[in-house]
Symmetry: C2
Amino acid sequence: MQRKTLYQTVYHRLRYQILSGDWPIGSKLPPERKLAEEWGVSRNTIVHAYADLETEELIYSRVGSGRYVQALPPPSALPRLHWKDSLPGGSALSAPSLMTELHALVGTRSALNFAFGEGGNHTRLKAQFAKGIDPLHILETSEADYLFPVQGLPELRSWIAEWMGCEQITEPSQVMITSGSQEALQMTTAILANPGDSIAVEMPTYFGALHLFQSLGLHLIPVPVDNEGMRIDVLEGILSRSRPRFIYTVPTFHNPTGTILSEARRQQLLALSEKHAIPIVEDDAYRHLHFNQEPPPPLKALDRQGNVIYINTFSKVLFPGLRLGWVAANRPFMERLTRYKELSISTNTFVQHALWSYLQKGAFQDHLQEARCHYQRQAAVMDEHLRQLIPKGISYMTPTGGFYYWVSLPEQVSPKELLQKAIEQNVVFATGDMFLPRETEQPFIRLCYSHETEAGIEQGMRILSSLL
Amino acid sequence: MQRKTLYQTVYHRLRYQILSGDWPIGSKLPPERKLAEEWGVSRNTIVHAYADLETEELIYSRVGSGRYVQALPPPSALPRLHWKDSLPGGSALSAPSLMTELHALVGTRSALNFAFGEGGNHTRLKAQFAKGIDPLHILETSEADYLFPVQGLPELRSWIAEWMGCEQITEPSQVMITSGSQEALQMTTAILANPGDSIAVEMPTYFGALHLFQSLGLHLIPVPVDNEGMRIDVLEGILSRSRPRFIYTVPTFHNPTGTILSEARRQQLLALSEKHAIPIVEDDAYRHLHFNQEPPPPLKALDRQGNVIYINTFSKVLFPGLRLGWVAANRPFMERLTRYKELSISTNTFVQHALWSYLQKGAFQDHLQEARCHYQRQAAVMDEHLRQLIPKGISYMTPTGGFYYWVSLPEQVSPKELLQKAIEQNVVFATGDMFLPRETEQPFIRLCYSHETEAGIEQGMRILSSLL
């Protein structure tokens, strides 16, 4: 593979610091000479990189004062153009979506898929689930209440409230069933923010959320993530300077980094949310797929003020194709969500009834236990291969749940080139820039171990190892 | 029942003329004396009514020139308020939705339901449909492609394109499967119009659409409907004065009036749309439920310029609980719709596969034929009862398809009072004002014959007859 020049390495490292929020918006950049010394490069390299970043409007100079991080302009939301014209190049909705691109890569489906965070092939689960479905019965019951209640099947909401068991969300009236967590996030965002509004978002973050926020024309304020999850100290600075409409977080088995927000930070985050009266949108899709140890309780469970809007899904613990997720939130928000949901009538009742009839059989807890062991084994297989790559300059944190390894490559390796080479050998993964608001070279890739069999992981990892 | 006073009758008649677009926005009202003569009431009654309408800001005076119809202000879209507060009274999303209200009325489900445009109890269809479903097979295939393509199952899109058979929409690539026609309409509207924009809408119109448009903060320009459907002459005036973002129409078995837009008007509507370069959103949910005679072709089939965005659904011909509809539109629009659809990922593939496996059995055409006969018989039962009420001052047009009778009551009868009395006797229907953008007394009710059995229709109609 072609190595990056020193300049490219420095430039992309700077760019990543800015886009991921490591250097927050408005903060002052280190003087050229100081940074050059720190990074062991020539002053000229830094001067050159700063100039390029200024041209890109990622930073700006104040005469006699220095250089500062600039806010990314919000992408234009739905473009106002003649309705028959094709989308113009500049708008958020015109970019070929990452999802579509990745899918094109998976293509024939014969590729080894480390790219998508989809559940594995639980053959036993499918048989169990299918056995519980009596189509005629489901048709009859689902037709009887296809429209109502808009919030979703009461039995299912009660079940969820009980399962969650958290003090704040035991009320089924505070739960809504949605078409997957993506719809939940879309409605929540549309209710809380208008185009041009700011929101605070972990960077890197789940690309489905990123794509959604950008398409809605929101201004993203990045909050960096370290080994303990979202950097609350940075968030504090952000909240005292600007008023984002909400804080979006995946605190447990964060996507893509796999980190867990520590208990101390959970309390700090809630305190900040209360102090500034800014709601938290907690995306908790991976919570139940922990390995040996249970993660800390959801923010929602610790939330005494009703500041958390909680989103979860059956996609990861059962099948993504069910398209069933849920929101738990305080009453006024649920009221608004219900009105919003009415606009598209209701979540598929046929599938809600199908899920309900499976859950009633009581096999879910056993399945969940099996799934945890299953993913833990798969993670272990991937880990073995990754460990052997440490001497070659990669690093990573071993996840304790969820679906992902977030792997830091040697800075000279281009993740995009690596992906190209991998595709040629039929392996697909996600590059780090897919989780940032702007395309940028950064030395990360995300490897998902949930989709392939152990043999598939072995095979794919051998290919990746040979490429590195 | 309490009779309306003469003043109330006059006032509500005026209000209806304005809200339904019979007197278009900007048009001059007849002078008081002239109208008083025409309607055979005192000049004072008209003066009084005009004054009240002016207070309500439905009309305004220009000194020395007369009175004019004023545009209704667009409702505020999602209100910007502290996210924990309850919805304020003034916003569109705060009104308890009609759907929810009506549903509360149906309540225990023991009520005779003439209110909802839902399909009947096709026992045979349910059995047939259920027989075609192999849950394990569907789970396996639907999980294989739960996300993609975003446009929906290719086999289903091909089937639809072939079924529709219209020249413009034979391309499966120009068809998208949606979560019912309501989602199709929601996405289409969000793409074409921003809050505060104007759209031209038949008045009265489908309340699901009305609620949607109002919730999105759109300014509605009413276009009246007569026996031949939308009044194209009025629309022409509207288009030359203002530029609505699109024209929303249910041209075939219009909801609620049951009228069919004549072929001549279809051509005129398309010509106007081309001339002004304003798209038409055609909602064609009832097309396939005609009685003996096929209705004129859809606008989409006559459209040579790609000006029509066509929306249809399986809810009326099969089950509403399937939540499967579709959009057919030109390529640039479909491209945008696909991007928008990605925001909530995709339509439930499990249910798409279930429908596809039913359709493959080939029983659909037979079912459709049966359903047509079934609804025609039910309409006939209702007709018999209605005919006997003509001497009591009611009037109506006999539908030739669809689900509804739009019944004009004697002007002195209050539909709301009638509904109250009916509810006491366990019969529910929709009052005319539910199909207008503002609550107003108007002498119409909509009776839906699709939901009840023939015996149920008999019983309900006997109760209504006794009340009138």
